[in-house]
Amino acid sequence: MSSASSEAAMGSHRLGGATLFALSARQVTKRFPGVLANDRVDFDLLPGEVHTLLGENGAGKSTLASVLCGLYKPDEGAVLRNGTQVRLTSPRHGLQNGIAMVHQHFRLVDRFTVAENVVLGHRNLPFRLRANDLEDQVAQVAERFGLPLDPRATVGELSAGQRQRVEIVKALYQGAEILLLDEPTALLAPPEVEKLFETVRAMTQAGKSVVFVSHKLGEVVDISDRVTVMRDGRVTGSVARGEADTRKLAELMVGRDIDLSPRRSRVAAQETLLQLDKVGLTKDGIERIANISLSVRAGEIVGIAGVSGNGQRELAEIVAGLQAPTSGEILINGARVNGIGTRKVREAGLAYVPEDRLGTGLAPSLSIVDNLVLTRDRGFLVDRKSALVEAEAFIKQLEIKTPHAHTATRKLSGGNSQKVLLAREIFGAGDNSRVLVVCSPTRGLDVGAVEAVHKLLDEARSSGKAVLLISEDLDEVLTLADKVLVLYRGSVVHEVAGHEVDVEAVGLAMAGLS
């Protein structure tokens, strides 16, 4: 289906064939028991290029990155460095060839300082380490690429963004010319993402190349010179910047047309179902939630945007009855529900999809059937027969991929377990349940699953539920919400109707600058 575009991309490859590729994969095939992770994959990286390897979970992009950095040996095919074939036997060997990978989960020693971590594993260290010399060297490398770092700081005390910088400095210190970054923005706050991009620009100007490995369409793709898309172990397309929009890329990733366009309420909002009136929460002397008032009406989605850690979790737990507010009132269907406990809040008509799917919303080792009974009124003996019928209906309707209804939820993919959770909270909660609180419902999910989740939330809205969507993913809030509120340090600092959103104003509000 995408052959035209991929051929066009191949054409541009051939044009570039005259120049020397910094790193290439030729017909790389890698098999794992039962899985063909890479199937004759070609990949080329120019010197000074930013190249994104895009694909859903399981598409084989991490496998390819691991082959390129020497972690895996390809079963077939070859890796070429500056046009000559190299047989990488280990990541260290890869590093000797100037190729380094920064993993999504950092591999640093928390109790060491930045400088100690950077030089860790370096072969040519003097027998006696002079801390000052090392620290100066590390600081030099960091400065050259615009990576502000204190070499004396202990790594355990650094933020995710700073740790990532340590990893990058480490790679550069060891002489990396090609840097593979696995999901580099997954753990970063927006300002840190901007910092990372500055570093990347500084690196490419110095002739180094960067490969982003990502499953998210977004910032990473925007700053790439080229994007190579993978699906099911194959390359489905390779496009230069500006040649394809996100919709096209999503189609290459998923293999079908993906609709991530905004969804708004199609019915007029009706009576108010959820109301917060001057709600506050002070815990351990710190004000976590300050004076929040908001209302959600039947048939609308109210979105709460904000950078993680600004009170989202507390707000959700207060509404769901897991914590009692220290001031203010919460009304569901007009009835006051402050601090009456989760069960009674549910009886009052609330359904809640927590941020942590496995481990809070679902019991990971229990089956789909058993997880559907979780929020029911169970009586003395648990009725699993009707739950089984329900589970099978959900599996069919929502296309949940599972061997059967008795499979443990932890064995499902993120998207499928989220479908189970949403199905229970939206359809399994009874007619009385008309308020839905949803937290970061698509975190870590594939594009296809994101679309499915958004569709479900839209359906919930259309069926007359009042939905409160709390998400750190701004795009998600903007896509779905009829009203957008920005949470900053526990208070609402910005409020705007969904179709009138000024993205810049929202972004500033999220950073606390409004």
Partner: protein, 340 residues
């Protein structure tokens, strides 16, 4: 299997024929009619302590105090057998004694249970320490005082016998009592109850993910308390069965055989499955009985061999468990690296 090979090595080292010894071990423990009834008799309280341990383990609670709870069950049921049984109609005497024994066992775990549920104090330490208190309590009642539980008719330190109505009759001339039927039925009933009931469901959610239990509004304090108390009651029942069965009094002999600790081992081997507890308990009791009778055979083998065998069974079973899990983990890592 490996356990038997290791045991065999020990036998050979101590100058016994491994095959011959195993042969007589099996015949004394399982296949002869006297052997199997002795085994079932010993297995009866062991099933109960095994169930007690498995029940708590199910909710990730580690009740190590079955031993002490069993002693208290013995004391409580002996009191009931002496003081109450005479005033009760015949059919009610034995059940009352059993129930009071279970209740005292539960009472013994009440303090650790409250500490655990309210303050999060480790139940492992508190239940374990109470074992020593219970042990000395029994010793005191029999050796240290001229109190209620001591037989007043003789100067030899032994327990005062319970009323005859408070005891079961043995099956024929065997050492097996009808309590074995109660223990097995209990195991089956528990199996069914934990699988089907809301209580069983809530404990499985709580064991799997305490956060999920909190999310669903389950009461963790109440669950913890009731699971530990019930576990204590099962262990107390083991002591009570000893009273209505072979002992008929507070008998310090129970202190020698460590059925409480063995119950933990049995539960672990049975992977906390209640029905499997029954089979494992019988297997274990057989090793004990067979081992004990080897001592008095024509070519005496020390009881220590049976203990060595028990130890190696546990070691290899747990070792096998680790192998099983590790293999799973290796596979999972591969899948993850493919997936991401």
């Amino acid at each position: 299997m490996f356990a038997f090979i290791v045991g065999g090595i020990f036998l050979a080292l101590t100058g016994h024929s491994p095959i011959g010894t195993y042969g007589s071990l099996i015949s004394h423990g399982y296949t002869s009619s006297k052997g199997i009834t002795n085994t079932l008799g010993l297995a009866t309280p062991l099933i109960c302590t095994g169930l007690a341990a498995a029940f708590a383990f199910r909710m990730n609670l580690f009740n190590i105090g079955e031993e002490g709870q069993m002693y208290l069950g013995m004391i409580g049921s002996a009191w009931a057998g002496i003081a109450l049984a005479g005033h009760l109609p015949h059919v009610l005497a034995v059940p009352t004694v059993l129930i009071i024994g279970a209740a005292t066992g539960a009472l013994w775990v009440l303090l650790p249970a409250i500490l655990r549920a309210k303050l999060g104090t480790s139940e492992i330490v508190s239940t374990l320490l109470l074992n020593y208190v219970a042990l000395n309590l029994v010793n005191y009642f029999i050796y240290g005082s001229r109190g209620f539980f001591r037989d007043p008719t003789t100067s030899f330190p032994q327990g005062r016998g319970v009323e005859e109505t408070a005891r079961f009759h043995r099956f024929g001339t065997s050492n097996t009592y009808p309590t074995v039927i109660i223990a097995v039925l209990l195991a089956v009933a528990l199996y069914w109850f934990m699988k089907r009931s809301n209580f069983g469901y809530e404990t499985s959610v709580f064991a799997d993910s305490p956060n999920t239990a909190r999310y669903a509004g389950m009461n963790a304090t109440k669950l913890t308390l009731s699971v530990l108390l019930f576990s204590g009651a099962l262990a107390g029942l083991a002591g009570a069965m000893y009273v209505v069965g072979p002992a008929g009094k507070v008998d310090p002999g129970l202190l020698q055989i460590g059925l409480g600790y063995a119950g933990i081992v049995v539960a672990a081997l049975a992977r906390y499955n209640f029905v499997a507890v029954v089979l494992t308990a019988i297997l274990f009791a057989g090793l004990r009985v067979g081992g004990a009778s080897l001592q008095i055979s024509s070519n005496p083998v020390p009881i220590a061999i049976a203990v060595v065998l028990q130890g190696s069974v546990l070691l290899f079973a747990l070792g096998g468990e680790i192998f099983r899990r590790n293999r799973l983990r290796i596979r999972r890592v591969q899948q993850v690296s493919v997936a991401s």
